[in-house]
């Protein structure tokens, strides 16, 4: 019984989040449309609690606690990701306040769904059993399907949600089938059991082969890795921008967390093989993501392709981890992935925050052309966007550069210098389409025939979000060490 209580304590943050979500659903019908923001503050309060709980454990970062007979574990790795997810969720909620108002979407459920998705992600990052990981993934995905379609007035939003749903369900079917086959191989669904069972065998076992492929595909879909990326641009474009930001950052991070844990803790025995597999995926992702981003005219689609490309960069770290020469190589590879996604979170959130509140009359200014001459109208907004774009392009001394730097460094250490060089070249290419936005902002006059010129509609909440984002981008660009050491400490033990 006491142990049961202890288990509950271990998952206390999850419980808090779920409880808050339920509370929101109960209160939602009772709050008048004008007061819906109270619900946002409520959920922020819940987040604050969680941050306190998890953040308090920073001192014992590497302490590994497992609960419910190893269904979930809380270790440094999980804590790192959870903290990141809290931060991202908090910023998302903040940026949603003005955005929902501007879109006239006074929905309390919205925050409920964000919390549910968050709880799903938390389960993902600390799940030590294929069952919990799958549950978390689905909880996250189901919430995201709905959130993508929340803008019911807009057919685009609905269509995005429907597409996302159909393909997501499809891919989760693949994932589940893979899990079932893996269960068939290992005779258990705990990652430990899986590792033990396959520790010996290689891909000569066809069942294991299919299972691995299906797992890779299932996660690849959530990570938006080529060739499982097709949904990304459509959904990112169609979904409400705050939701897009949440998807692009939080769900990507959580999926990467679970993905890494499954393949490192569970299938670590095959790292020699899957590292080759992901090497290929990462190459095609880099190529397609970066090249196709060039021809986009809608900035949300452009960022969608860029997020695909960024998934490719992060994959480099995993490949390096797989190839990792001994402990350090692998560790630094994984750490670089964690670092990369953490830094990527700031710039992407910032960029989407700007786009979301960049209004043309009632509508969002989504076309890159809409940014023409922004530097003259709103220099500060233009400057912020410049910072985010520069950081996304990975130009020093911004956070983006640090992230890429460590990923490439891991690759070089793992003896993949050529891969680093290739990625470097694509980073140079990517600068082209990011700088296009900058150029439009600084060097172009708005087309007079366009009628109403878009403006960045400022609001306190948005200011906070942008301040956090830009501070993160610049400060971590100049002083990355705390974050780096945190990532290095909380990295998974690689077998």
């Amino acid at each position: 019984m006491t142990s049961y209580g202890a288990d509950l304590l271990v998952i206390l943050p999850e419980l808090i989040v779920v409880g808050a979500a339920c509370l929101l659903l109960v209160l939602e019908p009772l709050t008048p449309p004008s007061r819906k923001e109270l619900l946002a503050w409520l959920s922020l309060g819940a987040l604050a609690l969680c941050i306190g709980l998890t953040g308090g454990q920073i001192s014992v970062l590497n302490l590994r606690v497992s609960a419910f007979s190893d269904l979930v574990v809380v270790d440094g790795y999980a804590r790192f990701w959870k903290l990141l997810l809290y931060g991202v969720t908090g910023l998302t909620i903040l940026m949603s306040l003005p955005y929902l108002k501007a879109e006239r979407l006074q929905l309390g459920e919205y925050y409920g769904f964000i919390l549910l998705a968050l709880s799903g992600m938390m389960v993902m990052v600390s799940g030590a059993d294929l069952l919990t990981i799958y549950l978390g993934t689905e909880l996250m995905s189901l919430s995201l399907y709905v959130m993508a379609g929340l803008k019911r007035s807009s057919p685009r939003s609905l269509e995005a949600s429907a597409k996302y749903f159909v393909l997501g369900a499809f891919s989760s079917g693949l994932l589940l089938y893979g899990i079932s086959l893996l269960y068939g191989v290992a005779g258990g669904t705990k990652l430990g059991a899986v590792a033990a069972a396959i520790g010996s065998r290689g891909f000569d076992d066809p069942l294991l082969l299919i299972a691995t492929i299906l797992l890779a595909a299932g996660f690849g879909f959530k990570l938006a890795v080529v060739p499982f990326h097709m949904w990304t641009p459509d959904v990112y474009q169609g979904a409400p921008t705050s939701v897009t930001a949440f998807m692009a950052v939080a769900s990507k991070a959580a999926s990467f967390a679970a993905f890494l844990r499954v393949f490192v803790e569970g299938l670590g025995g095959l790292k020699a093989d899957w590292s080759n597999l992901f090497l290929l995926l990462c190459l095609v992702t880099l190529i397609l993501g970066n090249l196709v981003a060039i021809v986009q005219t809608n900035i949300k689609r452009m960022l969608a392709y860029s997020s695909i490309a960024h998934a490719g960069y992060a994959l480099i770290g995993l490949v390096a981890a797989g190839r990792g020469m001994g402990e350090s190589g692998g560790a630094s590879g994984l750490a670089s992935v964690m670092l990369y996604l953490a830094l990527y979170a700031f710039m992407t959130l910032g960029a989407f925050a700007v786009i979301g509140m960049f209004r043309k009359g009632g509508l969002e200014g989504e076309d890159i052309e809409d940014f023409a001459g922004l530097a003259k109208r709103q220099p500060l907004a233009a400057f912020l966007m410049l910072v985010f774009m520069v950081s996304l392009a990975g130009i020093p001394p911004t956070a983006g550069f640090i992230g890429k730097f460590y990923v490439f460094m891991a690759a070089v250490e793992a003896g993949l210098a050529w891969l680093a060089v290739v990625a470097l070249i694509f980073a140079a290419i990517s600068a082209y389409y990011y700088m296009r936005v900058v150029m439009v902002m600084y060097m172009r006059e708005p087309d007079p025939s366009a009628g109403e010129v878009p403006q960045l509609v400022a609001s306190p909440a948005l200011t906070v979000v942008l301040a956090c984002a830009v501070a993160g981008v610049i400060l971590f660009g100049l002083f990355p060490n705390p974050l780096v050491s945190l990532a290095l400490q909380s990295v998974l033990p690689l077998k």
Binding site: A162, F165, A169, S180
Partner: protein, 101 residues
Amino acid sequence: MTIPVFYYLILSAVVFLTGLVGVLIRRNIIIILLSVELMLNATNINFVAFSQYFHNVAGQVFVFFALTIAAAEVAVGLAIIIALHRAKSSINVDEFQLLKW
């Protein structure tokens, strides 16, 4: 005598493939939903078969959750379909064309 486990696997593979192809070739989103359900249930066949083969219950537990999630998916799916139908009074995925590359 007991049925060898890989008969079940073949069965599940067939069902899975049927569902998969259904998703690929059907146009009515509800049928697509059904096909996805087929895929999920195929995995359930696997789980049950393996759990009986290994004599451990983990697989069956997994089936419970898989079923629940399948149900939740259907519910969400139907909700989205309804909203979509209200918006464009069609649930034919061919007509998803506002967003394309």
